[in-house]
């Protein structure tokens, strides 16, 4: 957000006609401010933490990178909005917080930008692949063969919270089975091999 409390928007769109149009619509709204427009995604400076929303046309991204747009762009915590002229596969669009179509009217576009900010706040994506220290503790307990109930008692949390932590751990690591998690936990020294003799 800038000093006037406006959300800063970066627009990456190869068509000048469309880029100009969208910028005008967004610029007319007191809540938003377009700080850059570009047809080149590499121009986007991910180090700039003042940027709240990146609107990007997925065609400017190589097909293979489209499936992991957030890390490709280095967009970290920024809300991501797709600007589409045509249909995309669901797994491409799923990574965005919102999706603007070129036939959306001004009110709808602004509404979608607000949605994107809200959507992005709901699920903070920073350090998405790093386990939190709580998650590491719980993973260690899982690896030691403790049940959800035992873990809940030990950490003084509900079983549902344990299940939710375990789901997040598996999602981050790409490992679902208990033996697999155990291998990870020992290799990363979260637990000791001697516990398993």
């Amino acid at each position: 957000m800038n000093r006037e409390g406006k959300y800063n928007v970066v627009l990456i769109e190869p068509s000048e006609i469309i880029a100009t149009g969208i910028s005008a619509i967004i610029g007319n709204n007191p809540q938003f401010n377009v700080t850059q427009t570009s047809n080149d995604p590499t121009y986007y400076n991910s180090g700039n933490s003042d940027i709240d929303i990146v609107i990007i046309n997925p065609t400017v991204v190589d097909y293979n990178d489209r499936l992991d747009i957030r890390s490709w762009l280095g967009a970290g915590n920024t809300a991501l909005v797709a600007l589409t002229h045509s249909n995309y596969e669901e797994n491409v669009l799923r990574q965005y917080d919102e999706c603007i179509g070129i036939y959306d009217n001004a009110a709808r576009i602004i509404q979608k930008l607000r949605n994107a900010i809200e959507e992005n706040n709901k699920s903070p994506k920073n350090d998405i692949n790093e386990l939190s220290s709580r998650e590491r503790d719980i993973l260690a307990a899982v690896a030691m063969g403790k049940t959800n109930k035992e873990i809940a008692d030990e950490f003084n949390i509900s079983i549902y919270t344990v299940i939710s932590h375990r789901r997040n751990i598996s999602q981050k690591l790409g490992i679902n089975s208990i033996p697999g998690l155990t291998v990870y936990a020992i290799m990363n020294k979260l637990v000791d091999m001697s516990d398993f003799k």
């Binding site: 690591l173 790409g174 089975s177 033996p179 697999g180 155990t182 291998v183 290799m187």
Partner: protein, 237 residues
């Protein structure tokens, strides 16, 4: 969702069918269908080998298209024996070819690892191996004999098994394979033998895909077919 056979049909040449998805060769192999079919159609080859063409096409469709849902109404109870024959042969293929080769490669790979990682991966794989074998053994010693008995002996009053139990005990043996793959891709450090690792990952991927199809055939063909017969006996009693 594909409702019925859309691409494959019984009037097409068997050679064309195989050419459209070379992976289907493994099905022919498991059903003991000999190659060299010349210009014969799918229907003709199936008739020669005493296999229902409908069933054969369903297996091919399940294999080639993951969202395909077979319409089992056209199948007869006796077709189940072809399904169990296929599944047994498929177990055999995993047991004698796929897993020994994977095991051998993993064994070579872990030699390069530090002591702890070696023991971890070895144990992980051995446990997995015995889990898979137990799974196959259970199907071969409990499930398939039950089905064969069901086909031969309609009056048996005291059946102790029901196929609904199969659904419950049918654990997902793909999960650990995926885990192993991710562990190798993401977490196994080391500069050695990366060619070997690529080979292992390819093997895991191809076994995993085949296993998925295998369990699709169990869930979409075997279980509904057996349920149909069970229901008939229930009502006939």
């Amino acid at each position: 969702m594909k409702k019925s056979t859309t691409i494959y049909n019984s009037r097409m040449k068997m050679a064309d069918l195989v050419a459209s998805d070379i992976g289907l060769l493994s099905i022919l192999q498991r059903l003991n269908i000999r190659l060299g079919f010349g210009e014969a159609t799918v229907a003709e080859v199936c008739a020669q080998h005493n296999i229902s063409a409908d069933l054969f096409l369903m297996i091919c469709n399940i294999y080639s298209f993951r969202d395909y849902e077979p319409q089992i109404e056209t199948l007869a109870g006796e077709d189940i024996s072809s399904v169990t024959m296929y599944l047994r042969a498929s177990h055999n293929y995993y047991r004698t070819i796929c897993f020994p080769s994977l095991h051998n490669n993993i064994h070579r790979m872990v030699k390069e690892l530090d002591d702890i990682s070696r023991r971890l991966i070895d144990k992980f794989y051995d446990d997995y191996d015995s889990e898979v074998n137990n799974h196959f053994q259970y199907e071969e010693e409990v499930v398939f004999p039950y089905i064969e008995q069901l086909l031969n002996d309609s009056k048996k009053e005291h059946r102790e098994y029901s196929i609904s139990r199969f659904g419950h005990s049918h654990g997902n043996i793909n999960e650990k394979l995926n885990d192993l793959s991710n562990i190798i891709i993401k977490y196994l450090s080391g500069e050695y033998a990366s060619q070997l690792r690529f080979e292992i990952l390819n093997e895991i991927n191809s076994i995993g895909n085949d296993l998925l199809r295998h369990s699709d055939i169990e869930n979409k063909l075997l279980v509904p077919l057996v349920e149909k017969i069970e229901m008939r006996y229930e009502q006939g009693r």
